[in-house]
């Protein structure tokens, strides 16, 4: 019976593979950029002032995607909160003694990791990396905070505020783009500055920092929500 089932499923995979082979068969190695990419390559640095073209695309040209993406993380955190929320709405406080070693280590590590994270998203327009990566690093530092300190309420509020403020600022900057420049999320509301320096590329570093903060807060929130599961739910 199991063999029968598996061979039937294999057959499905086979058919899917057959479909994908059609795609693969059509693929030919590229030797030039297509017009859109070429536009980015030629005009991107001029228009956005960012050295990292991926960043310029992510933050400005496809900024709406990024907004959506940030929203998805936001949603995820909210949904996890909703899903794991206990019926009474109050979470049991888990009081766990932090080990001496952990608190000492985190005392040193947290500032370092946070700084790395901030560095990554601040320099997103120049070097590889940016808001997402930096955000992830920030989140890891937050995990350390979580392990180190026992009062999580403060952390939670902080996260919420960071998340909300960075998110709203992101949108406000986007709207400023409509009002002051060419359209929603246009980075030229700030001077483009000297190409290749930290304070260049208009609003990109600002936006990317906000994204970084928001992503960091959101990822941290996800972790926090997961951490707070107490398993006391007696639902149907």
């Amino acid at each position: 019976m199991k063999i029968l089932r598996n061979s039937a499923l294999l057959l499905i995979v086979g058919f899917m593979a057959w479909m994908m082979i059609h795609l693969y068969g059509q693929y030919e190695s590229r030797d030039a950029l297509n017009p859109v990419a070429e536009y980015y390559a030629v005009n991107g640095p001029e228009e956005t002032g960012a050295a990292n073209l991926v960043t310029s695309i992510v933050v400005t040209y496809r900024g709406l995607d990024t907004l959506g993406e940030v929203t998805i993380l936001f949603l995820t955190a909210a949904i996890i909160g909703l899903l794991l929320r206990t019926e009474k709405g109050s979470r049991k406080k888990s009081v766990r003694e932090s080990s001496e070693f952990l608190s000492t280590a985190s005392g040193i590590l947290i500032p370092v990791i946070t700084l790395i994270g901030i560095y990554i998203f601040m320099n997103g327009h120049l070097t590889p990396g940016g808001g997402f990566q930096g955000g992830a690093v920030l989140a890891s530092s937050f995990i350390l905070v979580l392990l180190a300190i026992s009062n999580k309420r403060i952390g939670h509020r902080l996260l919420d505020y960071t998340e909300a403020i960075s998110g709203i600022s992101f949108i406000l900057l986007g709207i400023l783009g409509i009002l002051l420049a060419g359209g929603f999320l246009d980075n030229r509301i700030l001077p483009l500055g000297n190409f290749g320096t930290l304070f260049s590329a208009g609003a990109i570093p600002v936006i990317y920092s906000l994204i970084g903060l928001k992503v960091g807060a959101e990822l941290s929130n996800v972790i926090l929500e997961l951490n707070q599961i107490q398993g006391e739910e007696e639902e149907l």
Binding site: T55, A136, G231
Partner: protein
């Protein structure tokens, strides 16, 4: 040429890992295997001139995802113990 050979090796490892992730009995091993897949993928991204993607994949796709997996596995185990 070395790049190509390396790439093939990595691809093979990824596939093997994928099989392990799917068929290994232990969920922990499976999760780690999936993390390894992501990790190798991020190396491939560097080969393919995509450092941004590589960093992201490594930090988010690999580390964070594996972390969440373990978190949940832990919780599930915890549930079992409790009840």
């Amino acid at each position: 040429m070395i790049q190509i050979i390396l790439l093939i090796v990595m691809a093979v490892i990824m596939l093997v890992m994928a099989f392990i992730a799917i068929h290994h009995k232990s969920l922990q091993v499976a999760v780690i295997a999936s993390g390894i897949i992501s990790l190798f993928a991020s190396v491939i991204y560097i080969f393919l001139a995509a450092p941004d993607v590589a960093i992201t994949e490594a930090s988010i796709g690999s580390a964070l995802t594996v972390g969440i997996f373990f978190y949940i596995l832990n919780k599930i185990r915890h549930e079992d113990i409790k009840k």
